[in-house]
Each structure stands twice: as C-alpha cells, then as structure tokens.
Symmetry: C2
Subunit: 343 residues, 2 copies
C-alpha cells in the first residue's frame, strides 16, 4: 500500500456524474442497478485503475472476510494438503487467509491467535500445539463470539467444532493389521499424549492388543514429549531391548521412517524381523525401502471441510449443532508390514 492518492468510488462517481452509492452498488453487482450503469461503472473503474479498499469496507461492514489459520508446523505434507484444501474453499467464498505456525508452543500459539484477533479475523481454524492442555487462553475469542474450529489436533470444548479422523479406530486398525500379520510383541511409538491424536492412537493400540489377548506392556510404548529425533531415539531404545519386538506401530510416518532406517542400519530386516506401520500416508512412505504401510489421512478433505464449516458458521447457516466431524481413514498396506506374504 503506498501513499499516493488512491482512486476512490467518488472519483468514479464524479467522472460518471452519478453518486458514490451507485458506484459502490455497481461494483458489487447489486441487483437494483441498471445493466448499462453497471457496465459504465465497471469500465470506468477498470480504466481509472480503481482498487477496492478493504479497510474502508471492513471498517464500515465490521467484517473482514479473513480467516486465521494456526498450525503447529507448516512443513509436513499433511499440513500443506490441509492448507491447500482450506485455501481452495476460502478463495471460492471470497475469504483471505492469515496463516501462521505455533512451532508446537502454546505461548506462540496464543501470540499468533492474539495477533489474528487484533487483525479482526472473522473466524479461526486451529490445530493445537503439542503442549496445549486446554483452551482457556482462547476465552477472549469466545467472549467476542469469534468462531473457532479445531482440526486434527483438537480439544473438546462446547464452544468449538472439531474436525478429526477416528484416531482411536485408526490406531486400532493399524495394530490389528500387525497382529493379523502374526506380530505379538508390538512396540508403539507415539507423540505427546496431551494431544488427542496421539492419545487416541495409543488407546486404539491398547484396545487392539486387548481384543486379541495380548498383554499391554508399558515397556513397549515409546513416547516422546518433544518430537525431535523420536524415530531414531526409539530405534535405539528398541535395539537395547532384551527381546526384540516383531512389530512396530508408529503414530507418524516421519518417525516410522527414521526408526526403520535406524533399525535397518543395525541389521534388522523389515518386515521379516520387525513389521512396521506408520501413520499419515506421507509421500515419504513410498520413498523408502521397503515401502511403508501406513494410515491414510485425508488432509485436503479435512482442509476443505474445516473451511466450509467455518464459513457456514460465519454465514449463520444452521450448523446442526454439530460438535465433531469425523473423516474416514484407511490402512494402506505396503511392504513394510507384510510378513505373511513374504514367508
């Protein structure tokens, strides 16, 4: 935005000898404007280099047509798919996006949300930071009735809609798949259990074991609060076990791949010695060897859905009092877990 004088609707009005109100209406397809007037207006605007002033408009309408998006990290295939989905819907509906990453810190999350609040976003789409334990820090949003929708990393709260997959079931399915391949001693590598996604996957894992009469052994669960080098650390921990596991269910592909790579270096054969299942269906799953069995996570759809739900809410469309929307997941079987076929 520069400091030169802008072309305003008044300039157009003067040039056309009509009122500014008419220009304003003509520019936005108001039904009560004659076709030719509209045409004249649009042409003049074009020709004079008119640019709609969002600030004046937002100030007047008390609405910004901007949606804030806060995610833990931008650099995963999953997140970038989600954002592409959000972008698509938002653009379609004439909304802008304000995007930022919390880098897994509640503090930065709050700072980002506050900045967005000050920028008067109409609504927010948030995937929570790993160490976020509640949503008290969002109270000021609720008070101002700014809609907040969570996706992926959510927190159950009556004020918010959550969009997720059934992480419990997905964890269950992944573990069950390993059991069906003959695994009995299954390690689970997970993320911070404060996060619903990791907690639920962990519970699914436990339930699958139970349903197949396998005793849950906390020693086999490797959780890392700070997700740094989880895969590698986990591999080392596994290599130090007196009795090696025969299966591993990892709650994300990045860790799965890192772990697998480390195990392979130590001479362990995948899947013959240890079968591995990851989570997310990141493209990396097909870059390593053997290809990684994983749980497909519909990121793009999740983004679309999050955005359209929020926009419906903003438009006061009946959102059916819904509180949680669950998307479908799917176990994608690849080589890293196929004991049965290889033997």
């Amino acid at each position: 935005m520069n400091t030169k004088k802008e072309v305003t609707i008044y300039d157009i009005a003067k040039a056309l000898n009509i009122s500014a109100a008419t220009v304003s209406r003509g520019l936005k397809d108001h039904p009560a404007i004659k076709k030719e007037t509209k045409k004249k207006i649009v042409e003049a605007a074009q020709q004079m280099g008119y640019q709609h002033n969002i600030f004046a408009s937002s100030l007047r309408k008390r609405k910004t047509n901007t949606i804030g998006v806060v995610v833990p990290h931008l650099n995963s295939y999953f997140m970038s798919s989600v954002i592409a989905g959000i972008e698509k819907v938002a653009n379609q509906e004439g909304y802008n996006l304000l995007i930022s990453q919390s880098l897994e810190s509640v503090k930065k999350e709050l700072a980002n949300v506050t900045t967005m609040y000050n920028s008067r976003v109409d609504g927010l789409l948030v995937s929570l930071a790993g160490d976020t334990q509640n949503v008290d820090h969002f109270d000021f949003l609720f008070k101002k009735e700014i809609p907040l929708i969570f996706f992926d990393r959510v927190f159950e709260d009556p004020n918010c809609i959550s969009i997720i997959i059934n992480n419990f079931q997905a964890g269950y399915d992944a573990t069950k798949h390993l059991i069906e391949q003959g695994c009995r001693r299954i390690v689970h590598i997970g993320g911070n259990l404060t996060s619903n996604v990791y907690a639920d996957r962990h519970e699914g894992y436990k339930k699958a074991l139970k349903d197949h009469q396998i005793t849950y052994d906390p020693e086999l669960v490797i959780i890392d609060i700070r997700g740094g080098q989880l895969g590698i650390k986990a591999a080392q921990q596994i290599l130090n076990m007196e009795l090696l596991p025969d299966g591993i269910f990892t709650a994300n592909d990045t860790s799965a791949v890192a772990c697998m790579s480390e195990l392979k270096r130590a001479g362990i054969r995948i899947p013959q010695d240890v079968a591995i299942v990851g989570f997310n269906d990141d493209p990396i799953a097909k870059l390593i060897e053997p290809f990684l069995t994983t749980v497909h996570y519909p990121g793009y759809e999740m983004g679309e859905l999050a955005a359209s739900t929020l926009i419906n809410r903003l438009n006061k469309l009946p959102v059916n009092n819904l509180n949680t929307i669950v998307l479908r997941h799917e176990v994608i079987v690849r080589e890293s877990s196929l004991k049965k076929i290889i033997y």
Copy 2:
C-alpha cells in the same frame, strides 16, 4: 470480528474526560503526553477491553503493516524454515504475514499476489512458481511502488531485490565433489530450467565438468518440467541407459531420495556403483540409507534476511541500491557420495 459494538478510543476518552486525540496518543506512547495521563489511558483501555482497530488505523494511515508471502509450496522443510525466519523478523517489527502457495502455477501466483494487493499489503516476499518466465504480471505492483523482494526462485529485474544462494557455485561444488570421488559419467537430475535455481545449478554442473575435462553429454541430463515423480522417472531412465552413470547430482533432496530408493530396488549399490549428491539439506537426507550428501541451504537465514530487507525498504532506510544478496551454501558430505573412503 464480530458485530457487537466495539470499545473505541471515544469510549475511553469519555470515561476519562479527555479527548480522543489524547487517548490515541497515549495508547501509542506519543512523547508529548504526560506520564500519568498515559498511565490512566492504558489502564482504562485494559480495563474496558479496548482493542485497537487495525482497519480504521490502516485506512487513516494508508499503511497496513502487513507483508504478503507467496511461495510455490509450503510443504518442504526448506520453505517452512524460510517462513519461520520471516515470521520471526516480521513479528519483531510489528508486521503481520499473509501467506499463500502458488502450487507452481503462474496463474495462481498472480491471483494470490492480486488478492494481497487488494488487501493492501505494504510489501511482498515472493518465491516464483516454476513456470513463471517473467515478472510482467507484477507490473501493477511496481506502478504502485509496492516493494517486491524475491527469494530462492527469483527473476532478475531492476524493480526487485533478489535473495539467493550462489546456485551456480553450489552446482559446481556438488559436481566437483563427485568428480573428486572419481566419478566421470555424471547424471544431472534437475528441475524446470525456467527457474533460476535449477538453471544455475545446471550451469554449475556443466562448468565443473568442463574444468575437469569431462565432456558434457546432454543425454545425461534429466530435467522435468512438472516436478511430480521426477526422482522415480529419472531412476527408470537411468536404468535404461546402456552405460550406467557412476555419479548423480540431483538438484533437490526429494528427487535424490526417490531416485536413490528406486536405484537400490534395482540392485544398484550406493555409493559403490553410483554416488549421489542432493540439494537442500532436508532432514530426509538423514532418514534414508545411505545418508545423503547434499548442499546445505540456509532457509531460516534467508527468511530473516528477506523480511528485514523488505522492512528496511518499507522504512525507507537506505538499502544501498542493492539488487542481489547472496547467502553462503555448503556441501555436506555424507555416505551417499563417498566412493573413496569405502574403497
């Protein structure tokens, strides 16, 4: 932004029995306001739940304190590092970020930039889409004197500052490293040559060959316009060669890893049969086997620099008439290219 009545400086003024002008000044530390008045104002604002209205302010000041960022894709470690760097500086300086991805399409790039222009961003940070051949579509920005800074994927233009690494030299260094490891038949896998980064890396490759008396063979150069499955396609092409190469220089780690994985499946040993060097120093380089030799690309620093340069420009600080800023790169030697030591 909701529709309830906001608390304004007038409300504060009334409550304190002073003028709105004084409140406005007090709120932003104007030097000519008495300390205690200021204190009263700040306290009242706090207590009444006052929230600064960016729109009124932007409208009045004709400045938004917002920076637009347009990148080809969000989902790379590199980009997310760059953005983290930009965010850090921007937040420090009180700027907001508007981020979007062009998904490698000039059309979407232009649409995104236009939206940002309409949102009256103060300046723009852009990494160009793969098929962008010139910057004519940005002319309207130059006319309005909105500063535009390119990073990574740049286009030489007197209107813009570019922030890059020396891709030519980096390509040269990477290739030279392979030559020093004894490679003579070196394949180059690159991206769209319209893009400076890929064109320069390719030229560096050529020059390194020439300097070491190796004839440049266009048959050994595999370029993909649409970066989809480049690594895999390249591997297949390599496997079909009558004479296998002994070295590969790939212009990004993702393709390098995909290619390596495919070659390994075909029974080719890395680095014994073929040495590989990638580009970017993506974490994936240390997830695969063997670890990938690559060129370190300082993403975070690039982001910081891009943001601070832009902000200086916005503040009319002398930017020394600079046109191009070059950051340091570094070849990180790992196992995938070490023929000498292994033999």
